[in-house]
Symmetry: C2
């Protein structure tokens, strides 16, 4: 274990990048998809399954964990790693996004955000300093600055105001983080879909100096085209030798296109949330296991992938479990989706290593578009 | 694999019995606790975990499976074993109990039971012949006769009428079962809590001749004393050389007392259902993980038992998961309870093998009663 937090860029292939992040809690192979462990569990999965599927790092949410069980409590229990039983890297978001999306009543001032818990209505406060303190109490590997997220659509002037506030919070967050060997602190680029604001945000963050840069405020309903065009006008303003993290993204298609533009890290609840609702991601596109077409289909979800969640349970059984609302259905579908996402990331990393990312990208897209070949049975 | 269904009684210790049931799908060590896989899943568990915890046999429910996915469909898919991925013995109940407890409108005639599905209100029919046909379509290892279950409390005349009908259905069930090498058919003793009716039922079933005898109509609210006293007046009328199965029982205390009276097999949803609601069974009694007392307790559920579900997750984490309504909480608690139940059965079997069942029984009861020693931490 190194006590230094750094990023090694091994290879680029077009704009796509292959790297390794070194942290106190181990290495992260990039491009990396980070499963989301909101309240200290990647929903319906054992963490051993998450690790074994190929995930090097998982996410925890400050907003959820500060409300329950509470950051001080987690610290007393030895930190988040010990609490949940995960010894690899953990990235914690700062709470900014959930204050916007989940809390019932919120007030944003220069000092910070005051909001009511979505669980019990109790009042809470989150400043840049408190968010960083919470992340330190949790023992997170990668700390995110507190930012103000705004809903989409929005006026340019609102995006600008929130971006400027986020920049000032970035400075306070970075100072509060201080120097924690082997751990990193990331700034978050905001600015809505406006190229000028994104550039200003990216440059302002670099003046503060972070260990990595996230692109926030996307995947909030703007659609893939606008998301990718915003990436296109943002990424050129970020340093080449540091990791870039696209927050809250996304579908396998989104991941492929984002990596093609130079994104190194992504996270999303989609594989687990969709899994709990019966949707599977496969190498030939999506399957809705609620659909009656699967009721007597003995094929597994995706026989082409050597993973038990994908190649050993029949669609007929999964259909039955999903239709019956059984917990095992949610377990198997979530597991299959995490496995597929990690399989995709492994394919992406290998393709970049071998200098054939463009071919991988077009082949993968073509397989998704073509759908499944007719069954031989 | 033998194609013969039989029961070997290895040893008795007082009234407690140690045996092995040989079936087409493998051996069952008795006394056996059978986890319940109602709709084709032992709720919130992987079947590998059920097997690894020590269960030789699981249960499936005719009532649930006939409604969804349907017996003919399961047969087309290769049978229940293949459908759910379990190659050991499966016992299927006949549907009688659920017709009483779950269906919305039901009519019992000499011919059979007509009822409305609790899922979608559709009308269904279950005769002794149809129940046995369904169990054959499912490919069950142990088939149960169709019986009429009545609620508790009840009048003696109602218990007598239902017992006599169940006897006539027993004859029709046994004939419909016919001869299926390696599989068995069990009769079910009814008669409420009346000693005379129980004796008449037990003797009537033996005239028909089954591979084993179940005691039904208990654990329906009569309380442990009445349940055990009913066992006391029933078991002496059952053959010593065949297995006795007490249906739907129960708590660890119920299991210990039933085995002490000569019961060989039991099943109950309690370990999984209680687990989903945050209750754990341990060698020192029960724990309610919802209770705030566990919030900062780093001890596992039961460090004295060498099983990952019991000795590797902290109560603090389980408390957090249970309070948060997380699926992983249900998974871990159900797993722990199944592991504890199987641990108890293993202890029971070993104690009988070694001729010290009475000591085991009193020690186990004393540990449950004493509760947990104060923590050293």
């Amino acid at each position: 274990m190194t006590a230094k937090f750094d990023f090694t860029l091994h290879k680029t292939d077009g704009a796509a990048r292959r790297g390794t992040m070194h942290t106190l809690h181990g290495d992260i192979r990039t491009p990396a998809f980070m499963p989301v462990g909101t309240v200290g569990t990647v929903k319906a999965l054992y963490l051993e399954q998450v690790k074994e599927a190929g995930a090097d790092i998982i996410l925890g949410n400050v907003y959820h964990l500060m409300l329950r069980p509470g950051a001080e409590r987690v610290a007393r229990l030895g930190g988040l790693h010990k609490f949940i039983g995960w010894d690899g890297p953990i990235l914690t978001d700062s709470g900014g996004f959930q204050v916007m999306s989940l809390s019932q009543i919120r007030k944003i001032t220069e000092e910070g955000a005051t909001f009511q818990s979505h669980i019990d209505g109790t009042k809470h406060h989150l400043s840049p300093e408190r968010s960083m303190e919470i992340q330190r109490l949790l023992g997170s590997t990668i700390h995110m600055q507190l930012d103000e997220c705004i809903a989409f659509p929005h006026e340019r002037k609102d995006a600008e105001r929130a971006m400027q506030l986020s920049l000032r919070w970035a400075k306070r967050s970075r100072e509060a983080f201080g120097d924690q060997p082997g751990r990193g602190c990331f700034g978050i680029v905001q600015g809505g879909t406006d190229a000028g604001l994104r550039e200003e945000s990216a440059k302002g963050l670099q003046q503060i100096s972070f260990h990595g840069y996230a692109i926030g405020g996307l995947a909030v309903g703007e659609g893939q085209d606008l998301m990718l065009s915003t990436l296109d006008v943002t990424l050129p303003h970020l340093p080449l030798d540091q990791p870039r993290y696209l927050m809250g993204v996304g579908t396998p298609e989104d991941i492929l296109e984002s990596v093609a533009r130079g994104v190194d890290m992504l996270d999303c609840v989609m594989p687990t949330r969709s899994g709990r609702h019966g949707q599977a991601f496969t190498s030939f596109g999506r399957l809705n296991l609620r659909n009656a077409i699967h009721a007597e289909d003995l094929r597994p979800l995706d026989a082409s992938i050597d993973h038990p969640a994908l190649n050993s349970y029949s669609r007929a059984y999964l259909h039955h479990l999903v239709r019956s609302g059984e917990i095992l259905g949610m377990m198997l579908m979530s597991w299959a989706n995490i496995a597929y996402y990690q399989h995709l990331m492994q394919g992406i990393r290998q393709a970049i290593d071998e200098g054939r990312f463009e071919a991988f990208r077009s082949e993968t897209r073509a397989r998704w578009a073509a759908g499944e070949l007719p069954s031989a049975t």
